[in-house]
């Protein structure tokens, strides 16, 4: 009997110890309260999440290492996702579970998170923990909603048409100069296909991407989402789908089957495999694409809308870094943001992989040390700025529209839906998702 009692006692004790190890202990809390009082001598652990290519992950980890060396009491754990596919699911789940990272990389969709009260107001830290002396006012404004700063730009970006210089040489054609209409682009691509022969095409089929559709819509003064409402019309979709249909029939772009086989991100792209000669990419992706390709690539302006059309292009902060509203260490998080955008060594490591840096001093330092490859990007951005107008935020519930667009573009390509039907579905979809 006593033996049993002892057994029982030991078992209970073990379980209690095990359980208490699992629950968030009181000890942690005390230290965090001390924390805000005396700055940064206690040991602090922060989590930072981002998405992106291998290049980005490597240099971000290097910057974290550098930061930890400078502030040995702060430890930063990187949580990264290659490509954007799984990223939003992960972040949303973490936010819902109250377990989101302290520092979160967001895109042009950050207002969606502001409206759901997930981001910290950074105004109190600006000028104190985060030095913005060398950052342009408009760049700061791009991370604000109603005058409150929710994100600091990690770099500005524009997109253009990247081309494979080797393939164009092989075809015996002049490289494009970026002064072309959509028709000119299509014709150039069709000529490339003819010259390059079987299995290689002039351009990637881009008909599935809402971003590029929006670019063309903006050339006729419309936009997927502007001033809180949809300002495209059904005809915009008709124009877009018929244009790509024409390109497909002229052989300018890949077959339906081939288009469906690739996601066209640096990891899975017909452009990377040398099966297409041109691809629309973000300027900051030039390095990531170049790194996985043997042939040299170059980037020029995307097609314009012709004589009377408006400028469709825009410059946007490709990524902003925000702070979780529930973070225990707002000051340290702000310090890390400052480090990423201002520290000379850190900005050199990060380079322009996330776009052209926000800080002017970082930009100058980078340009001084630029490789020929990077010079191309700076030159491109210079031209892009001249051809840009103010950017529009992404429509809410963008993911749902993106899937529908993929679906419809494939249905049209495989001949399962007419252009008229497809356009109708897309137009209805953009209205319902925005107003959901």
């Amino acid at each position: 009997m006593t033996k049993n009692r002892i057994m029982l006692f030991v078992t209970i004790l073990t379980i209690i110890t095990l359980l208490s190890a699992c629950t968030p202990g009181g000890a942690d809390k005390v230290s965090s309260d001390d924390q805000s009082a005396n700055g940064s001598k206690e040991s602090v652990e922060l989590r930072f999440s981002w998405w992106g290519s291998q290049v980005r992950t490597e240099n971000t980890l290097k910057v974290i290492e550098l930061f930890e060396k400078k502030y040995p009491n702060i430890k930063i754990t990187g949580e990264y996702v290659g490509g954007t596919d799984g990223y939003w699911n992960k972040i949303n789940t973490q936010i819902a579970g109250g377990n989101a990272p302290d520092l979160i990389q967001l895109g042009n969709n950050f207002p969606e998170y502001v409206s759901r009260n997930t981001l910290l107001d950074l105004n109190p830290y600006i000028g104190k923990k985060i030095n913005v002396d060398h950052i342009d006012k408009t760049t700061i404004a791009a991370g604000q909603v109603d005058g409150i700063t929710y994100g600091i730009s990690l770099g500005s970006n524009s997109f253009g048409v990247a081309y494979n210089t080797e393939l164009i040489k092989k075809a015996g054609m002049e490289p494009p100069n970026g002064d072309w209409t959509w028709d000119g682009f299509g014709k150039y691509a069709a000529d490339l296909t003819k010259a390059l022969g079987k299995g290689i095409y002039g351009t990637v089929d881009e008909s599935r991407f809402p971003l590029l559709f929006n670019f063309m819509a903006r050339q006729s003064g419309h936009s997927l989402y502007r001033d809180g409402k949809v300002s495209v019309v059904e005809q915009d979709f008709v124009n877009w789908l018929s244009m790509w249909d024409k390109f497909r029939k002229e052989g300018a772009t890949t077959t339906a089957e081939m288009a469906a086989a690739y996601t066209e991100s640096p990891d899975n792209s017909s452009f990377v495999e040398g099966k297409t000669a041109m691809h629309f990419i973000w300027s900051n992706q030039v390095n990531a694409y170049q790194k996985v390709m043997k042939d040299e690539i170059n980037i020029v302006l995307p097609p314009n809308g012709g004589q009377s059309a408006e400028k469709g292009l825009w410059l946007q902060p490709s990524q902003v870094v925000s702070v979780n509203a529930k973070t225990k260490y707002p000051e340290e998080a702000a310090m890390f943001i400052d480090f990423m955008v201002n520290d000379p060594e850190a900005t050199m490591i990060l380079g322009n992989e996330r776009g052209i840096p926000a800080s002017a001093t970082a930009r100058e330092a980078l340009m001084k040390n630029a490789t020929p490859q990077d010079k191309k990007i700076y030159d491109f951005i210079d031209i892009a700025i001249q051809n840009s107008t103010t950017n529009d935020p992404e429509p809410p519930n963008g993911n749902e529209f993106t899937t529908e667009m993929l679906n419809i573009s494939q249905s049209v390509a495989f001949g399962k839906k007419s252009i008229a039907e497809g356009s109708k579905v897309l137009f209805e979809k953009v209205l319902t998702t925005v107003n959901k």
Binding site: N4, T11, I15, A96, A259, A260, L406, Q410, F414
Partner: protein, 298 residues
């Protein structure tokens, strides 16, 4: 009562970790998912109660829901029978007493172990892609220029069916165990009576194996309804091309985690539960007429 507790306290204590897990990780989420299915819940902000609107929308106003059901039904009703037939076939061959039996057993079981993994799904992409091994082979030996089996919506689902059939290992092992249970003298007796191999298979093997077939059928059916990883990886998470591999669970996942409709996704989960329960019930209730137990079912 107190005495009963005293007697069983220690076993219960040892059960506790599992019990806590069950309550916190299974029962808890199930109960909250019933509630979420009756709300409009975007994952990030708090849910608002909307009654049965999610269910109504699902059945009245969501063509993609029906697409995903169709895709799943086609998958379940092609892959499960094919897999079981294949598994039984291989098991019967192995039961003949092959040399190096354990080696083959491991070999055939391997795909099942690797089955749900991302690597295999990626491999599948390579094998059945436009320039994959399969098409290479077809061109080399038959001069056929075959389509991209994965990127063409006519065939994409069937490559996933093939992937599932290839993972016949676990059913095969269970069949093999079942076959070993059948007494040899039944066959000897049949042989004396002049029954052909085929007749023996139909009249002895199959009837005596029905409990095992029944078990495998139920298990495979349930897991087939829940298929997710293969299409998620092969289609890059889209269910494409043109929704041809949009499995029910994949659509549920997209709704919940990509489109910010966790309430709707919860409702879909409960509908799936009912569908699975329905088919399981049908199989159970017909089992009396085709499953034969040695003891007459007692």
């Amino acid at each position: 009562m107190a005495r009963l507790w005293k007697k069983n306290a220690i076993p219960y204590l040892f059960l506790l970790p599992w019990l806590i897990g069950l309550l916190a990780l299974t029962v808890g989420p199930m109960i909250s998912s019933v509630y979420y299915s009756l709300t409009n819940y975007d994952v990030i902000s708090s849910p608002t109660y909307i009654g049965f609107d999610n269910y109504k929308k699902m059945f009245m106003d969501d063509p993609r829901f029906y697409t995903s059901l169709k895709v799943t039904f086609i998958y379940v009703f092609t892959s499960v029978p094919l897999k079981l037939i294949f598994a039984l076939l291989v098991a019967s061959l192995m039961n003949k007493g092959l040399r190096g039996l354990t080696f083959y057993r491991t070999l055939y079981y391997l795909p099942t172990l690797l089955g749900g993994s991302v690597a295999i799904a990626v491999l599948w992409r390579k094998i059945f892609g436009a320039t994959g091994i399969v098409n290479h082979f077809l061109l080399l030996f038959f001069g056929i220029e075959a389509p991209d089996w994965i990127a063409n919506p006519e065939y994409s689902l069937y490559t996933i069916v093939a992937l599932s059939v290839w993972q016949f290992g676990s059913s095969m092992i269970i069949f093999l165990a079942g076959l070993k249970q059948i007494p040899q003298d039944f066959y000897e007796a049949a042989q004396v009576d002049g029954a052909s191999k085929w007749k023996q298979f139909l009249k002895i093997t199959i009837p005596l194996l029905t409990p095992v077939i029944f078990f495998n059928l139920i298990m495979q059916l349930i897991s087939a309804f829940q298929a997710f990883t293969q299409s998620f990886i092969i289609s890059g998470g889209t269910g494409g091309p043109i929704d041809s591999t949009l499995f029910y669970t994949l659509y549920l996942y997209l709704k919940g985690f990509s489109f910010y409709e966790m309430g709707y996704a919860s409702a879909m989960a409960w509908v799936l539960l009912i569908i699975i329960a329905f088919f399981t019930f049908i199989i159970f209730s017909t089992s009396k007429s085709w499953v034969h137990y040695g003891d007459g079912g007692k």
